[in-house]
């Protein structure tokens, strides 16, 4: 099985983040399965940007450390990348000092001279590079130019096409790379980022209102939904801060509209009081959380899975919340869709956790279809026109601890939704009986939610020397590593709360467990210990802001833990 990796790097502002995904799409349309992984600093000009594409004629899931073909648009790439013997490196070697002794296969493209001779601006350097890359990998130029058409405004289109053509001409036959032939297996697959899958899951579910404040790596949910708002009749708001973001969504949901907010850890800190408000008023709410490293501002454009315990314990006091931890595009899409049903049915906050790696990388295993998708808006009071001004027992249990919602404007549905503890009609109440009744009723929902949430799933051979235990995006590198090694399998949690821990405990039996997480303490492992009493001693943890690279996992398994 051959997996090929191609990487383009250069300073921020060189168009890496448009060229990279475009090339990933060109490969997909040429019949490959593709994964694209971006790395970039939190600055607009300067600093090192790169986009790493992994592709194969078999499904690919994740990023390797290794790079087969490197396109270096500037000297900075050589400062940041390890250049090895087998690599093909495409660069303007005439103009980059210190590269003379490199042992890689050099493809010298005189970018500077080409631009000058053809009176082209610097910004088309990336298109020259794409031309070269297409030629080396045998990609049909029509596929590339069609992508240019889809992505570039008309006035710069011709310029980019001619730049790419010049690049192609520089490419001699001996420079070609032997890649497996693309096939048609991936024709219908979608190549998209995790955040796009979340946004589309929400749109599919009839999202009405999305409000938040931009914070990487959640911002692209906001951007994408904002683009779609008029087309689908959604209201999307960039609010004054995250506090307003979540509270506005709660207001919309109180009024009966399907509402969502999304943020990263720092924003969720501000939203915390709102989560509690949604909980006690039993206002349905979906919260997409894309994690990144660090308390405070941390490392904005890098990845980590360290907010699990924050989310599980969010806000003062105790209340039921649903925590979903999807691991791929399909899970992101369908679980976000289902998150709205769960929020409406149980009237609790529902978290969809992702991280920078899953949110911003491109994956291509999904198709998404309508089969079996159903909307469930839960118990909603139809109204009583005989007694339009009567107060309605909004917080009285109807079934399974769940009360009935009444949208403002409904005759006979009058009620108060208070952040205070309250009676059935929503009037503030502090007597012990009411408090006990409410806490017990609200927590009753947990038993029923448990039955609906997926249990962890085992991937890989049934019996193996090592069973990794993971959640969220770590599924991806493990799936990729499975292709190279059959000495391990893994249990992936796509939901963590509330689930049936008794059954989970059974799944752990007779297994050599290793917790694998991108955080410092092994947060899932500690949740498992709390819920099951099982202490997973072996932990493989990474907390440098990068996802697990496939080689690292294979190495770990080989070493034996």
């Amino acid at each position: 099985m051959s997996v090929i990796t191609w990487k383009i790097g250069g300073p921020a502002g060189f168009g890496i983040m448009s060229a990279g995904p475009m090339f990933a799409m060109a490969l997909k349309r040429s019949g490959y399965s593709v994964h694209g992984y971006p790395e970039y600093p939190s600055i607009i000009r300067g600093g090192y940007n790169n986009y790493h594409v992994t592709f194969s004629d078999k499904p690919v899931f994740s990023v390797y450390n290794r790079c087969d073909i490197l396109v270096a648009l500037d000297k900075v790439v050589f400062d940041s990348e390890t250049i090895t013997k087998n690599m093909i490196v495409i660069a303007d070697f005439d103009n980059i000092k210190g590269t003379e002794d490199l042992e890689c296969k050099k493809v010298n493209i005189p970018f500077k001279k080409i631009l000058k001779d053809n009176e082209l601006p610097d910004i088309v350097k990336n298109s020259i590079a794409l031309g070269v890359s297409a030629k080396i990998l045998g990609i049909d130029e029509e596929i590339l130019f069609k992508l240019f058409e889809e992505n570039y405004p008309a006035k710069v289109l011709d310029m980019n096409i001619s730049a790419a053509k010049i690049g192609m001409e520089f490419c001699l036959d001996e420079m070609k790379f032997k890649a497996p032939k693309g096939n048609s297996n991936f024709k219908d697959n979608l190549l998209m980022t995790g955040n796009e899958a979340i946004a589309l899951g929400a749109v599919k579910a009839g999202l009405g209102f999305y409000s938040t404040y931009p914070m990487t790596p959640a911002s692209s949910i906001l951007h994408y939904l904002a683009k779609l708002e008029e087309k689908y009749g959604i209201i999307v708001k960039h609010t004054e801060d995250e506090i307003s973001g979540i509270i506005m969504a709660i207001g919309a949901s109180y009024a009966g509209v399907r509402a969502m907010t999304g943020t990263s850890g720092g924003g969720l800190s501000l939203m915390t009081e709102g989560v509690g408000l949604a909980a006690i008023t039993e206002t349905p709410l979906v919260i997409a959380l894309s994690q990144r490293p660090g308390p405070a501002t941390g490392m904005p454009t890098w990845t980590e899975q360290a907010d699990l315990k924050f989310v599980l314990n969010i806000s003062q006091d105790e209340f039921v919340k649903i925590v979903l931890t999807p691991g791929d595009l399909n899970e992101l899409f369908y679980m976000t869709f289902e998150a709205f049903n769960l929020a409406d049915r149980y009237q609790v906050p529902v978290f969809v956790l992702t991280d920078k790696f899953l949110s911003e990388s491109h994956f291509c295993e999904a198709i998404f279809n309508d089969n079996g998708l159903k909307i469930d808006r839960g118990f909603i009071f139809e109204g009583n026109s005989e007694a339009p001004m009567e107060f309605f027992p909004r917080y009285k249990e109807v079934e399974n601890g769940i009360p009935m919602k009444s949208n403002p404007g409904t005759p006979g549905g009058l009620y108060k939704a208070p952040g205070n503890e309250h009676d059935d009609f929503g009037f503030v109440a502090t007597d012990s009986k009411t408090r006990i009744k409410n806490q017990e009723r609200r927590f009753k929902k947990e038993e029923f939610i448990k039955k609906e949430l997926p249990l962890p799933k085992l991937y890989g051979p049934k019996d193996a020397e090592i069973t990794f235990v993971c959640w969220g995006s770590t599924k991806q590198p493990l799936m990729e590593a499975l292709k190279h090694n059959d000495k391990f399998n893994f249990l992936h949690f796509s939901a963590i709360n509330p689930i049936d821990w008794k059954q989970v405990k059974n799944m752990f039996k007779d297994k050599n467990l290793v917790a694998i997480e991108t955080n410092f303490t092994g947060q899932l492992a500690s949740v498992i210990a709390e819920k099951t009493g099982i202490v997973i001693k072996d932990k493989y943890l990474k907390y440098d802001g990068r996802p697990f690279f496939v080689e690292e996992i294979i190495e770990y398994v080989k070493r034996g833990n």
Binding site: M192, F209, V257, M389, G409, K416, N420
Partner: protein
């Protein structure tokens, strides 16, 4: 509905003589005069004695967190712009905690009526200084006297671009009722700062204090003149009551093409066809 029918049946727990009673009566009277049904009204309240208004009106209601009235109001109003939204909060609630939201609600010109029960003190937490407390005043949290300059909330509103700025007073219920009616009828953000004596903790700002200083703006006053309004707002010895500034401006919901034909509520929660969107990812 008659004013009385807007009583929820819950007896208010405000201190006897509290200015909040008058505001309550004015709201009920305004809704009755305008013949709005309580089922089409959402009262959004903040936290504080002011926020307790929620319990006493026969309308829908949302009692949000401290300072967070206006974001809730925005979500509600955009979701169902046919509803009448009345927001009640205090000076601590709205000018302390919520001052950011206040300015942004003004920028949006959301069609709600925002009533600030301005008693120059924190009532519910038993008498700390508020953003509108005068310099030098001693309070529980400022036993040596306030050293911060007080906020002039009407000036903040005017400078932020508010187009309906008014001042009412608990000692003038009829006048206040008319202001609230004008606010509800105004298509946009109607902001009314209400002088509300707190008889328990805000003794400086008593009914006597206000009765000596207030006067009502009459027909000769031109509320469309911004400079006039600024002058009124900075008057030192006298306190003007009435609509201080008013101007027409596009109301927020009307600027959303998504809301042109129907309320948002009617299109949400239905399975959507996203196939042409998916096609772009192939």
């Amino acid at each position: 509905m008659k004013a009385m029918e807007f009583n929820s049946g819950k007896i208010p727990v405000w201190c006897p003589g509290c200015g909040n009673f008058a505001i309550w009566n004015a709201i009920k009277g305004a809704l009755a005069d305008l013949e709005i049904s309580g089922k089409d009204v959402v009262n959004i309240s903040g936290i504080g004695c002011s926020g307790k208004m929620l319990n006493h009106l026969r309308t829908y209601g949302f009692h949000t967190l401290h300072g967070r009235t206006l974001p809730v109001a925005t979500g509600v109003k955009l979701s169902n712009h046919k509803l009448t939204v009345v927001v009640n909060g205090g000076d601590g609630d709205g000018y302390g905690m919520g001052v950011g939201h206040f300015i942004h609600a003004i920028r949006r010109n959301l069609d709600v009526t925002y009533l600030v029960h301005d008693n120059h003190i924190y009532g519910l937490t038993t008498g700390q200084a508020s953003p509108t407390t005068d310099k030098g005043l001693k309070s529980k949290s400022t036993p040596h006297g306030v050293i911060d300059e007080p906020l002039n909330p009407l000036a903040v509103a005017l400078n932020a671009g508010a187009t309906f700025v008014a001042r009412g007073y608990s000692g003038e219920v009829e006048h206040l009722k008319e202001l609230i009616k004008a606010g509800i009828n105004y298509k946009g953000f109607a902001y009314i700062d209400i002088l509300q004596p707190c008889v328990t903790f805000g003794k400086t700002y008593s009914y006597e204090y206000y009765d000596e200083r207030i006067y009502k703006l009459d027909e000769s006053y031109d509320f469309t003149n911004f400079d006039n309004a600024m002058k009124k707002i900075w008057e030192k010895e006298k306190i003007a009551l009435g609509i201080i500034y008013k101007k027409e401006r596009d109301e927020y919901a009307s600027l959303h093409p998504q809301l042109k034909d129907d309320i948002l509520l009617n299109s949400t929660g239905k399975l959507r066809d996203i196939s042409d969107e998916l096609a772009r990812f192939k």
